[in-house]
Symmetry: C2
Subunit: 263 residues, 2 copies
């Protein structure tokens, strides 16, 4: 990427993100409004984890992407933290062949979608045409239920990704796992690392680094408790024991999908 | 914190976050609904950066907190990525003495708030009574404009925090900086580290670690470009040059606040 291109990109980033707006900074830089913008289709679903979505959404926007938030209708979708997201397009209106198809997680919402024929049909169809098929957190379980991970290496939230092989995927305990055009990420906050990886692929490495600098993504967690290994046996056992029964509906949905997929 | 308390906390977390819902996991654990819940008042403002807010909001919710999203009215507030947030309370309805007062950033929205007497008066009043006065990203500039950082060490987004000393603060280039009851964080993604720090203070270290594990916060950025030092001179210069004129309105707002504060 040339210096001039970086400047163009950042001028556009500034226009897209009002917080970084620089209206008259580089008036001499011209942008071709007819140049194709990467198309992103992001599924939003009831009970989804908002933090699964927002880092990826922010990175996608900063690639100068054309982002659709899609659901069955345009009614507000309630997320885990109580905030509503208003879809910008219905499943029918979604781009048929986007550059990136994205699915966020949240176990309850994921399980509901895995058993929803309308959502599964949408994912099968769009997943077959999308340039990249992607997810954060338990979103990979939904991709798997739509048959989109059969034979692909994939990851997901540490607590539920054990189910991926039952959906035909090859489980890999990575933070961001790419296998051909399937790119899956680990739980919740992995969406930040994922967003930069996508930006580097859709644009390039320098563009992705610029986004990282704008977002000041130089993480410094106060503890090393973000994985079962780091958290240790005692804390992980507590969390796992508690969440265990949340996995029962998942296991049922996985069994149904397994039968339907003829794996 | 006892094992039993951790279980209670996580059972509650599961109820608050539907994605992690475990309705019948630990039916034997009793929770006292009369026990005080920590109160959080989070300002939301037009053009704010959504990613400044969501990690902190998620962490606050997982402390079993009672969270208000406050603005002048309850009309939807447009954020940088185009998503709207609906305030849950007005500035008048906000808790007068919350455990945590929180201000997100976004340069354009921050500058507007710095020059808005209604917002400044609200922050002066609530900041004087809050147990902790906090911010992410350029939010610290708004705290500074309300006179809340005079004589306190504070940080903010790398690109604009140079202005903090003009608002009476002692600039510290940290990711999360605590000085007595003022806790400020760096740009955008610093809100993740910040959220865990707040959880550890409001609850305790084990609670914060549990949240970190639930959110799988084991960051693995693909590059080391999250700070000017990591991004290097060339990339930082590009970004800084571009954003430079966005700082002109900030400098004017800082000058006005400086005069008003009699610093």
């Amino acid at each position: 990427m040339q210096r001039r291109d970086v400047l163009q990109m950042l001028a556009l980033a500034a226009l897209t993100a009002p917080a970084l707006q620089v209206p008259d900074a580089h008036a001499g830089i011209k942008f071709d409004p007819n140049a194709p913008k990467p198309k992103f289709v992001m599924l939003v679903h009831p009970d989804m984890v908002l933090l699964d979505l927002v880092p990826a959404l922010t990175a996608f926007k900063l690639t100068m992407g054309d982002v659709q938030l899609v659901w069955k209708d345009r009614d507000p979708v309630r997320t885990d933290v109580g905030l509503d997201i208003r879809p910008t397009a219905t499943l029918v209106e979604a781009y048929a062949a986007p550059d990136v198809l994205f699915v966020p997680g949240g176990l309850k919402g994921t399980v509901a979608c895995m058993q929803d024929a309308e959502v599964i049909t949408f994912l099968e169809k769009t997943g077959a045409s999308a340039r990249f098929v992607t997810s954060v957190c338990t979103g990979s379980l939904l991709l798997g239920a739509a048959g989109l991970l059969a034979g692909y290496r994939a990851t997901g939230h540490w607590q539920s990704r054990y189910a991926l092989p039952h959906l035909g995927a090859i489980l890999e305990d990575g933070r961001v796992v790419r296998d051909r055009n399937r790119i899956t990420a680990g739980g919740v906050t992995a969406g930040l690392d994922f967003g930069l990886v996508i930006a580097s692929i859709i644009r390039d490495e320098e563009w992705a680094k610029s986004i990282q600098l704008i977002l000041e993504y130089a993480p410094a967690p106060p503890y090393d408790a973000g994985t079962p290994a780091g958290a240790g046996v005692a804390l992980t056992t507590l969390v796992s024991d508690l969440l265990k029964s949340g996995l029962k509906p998942l296991d049922e949905a996985v069994a149904q999908a397994h039968a339907r997929l003829h794996l």
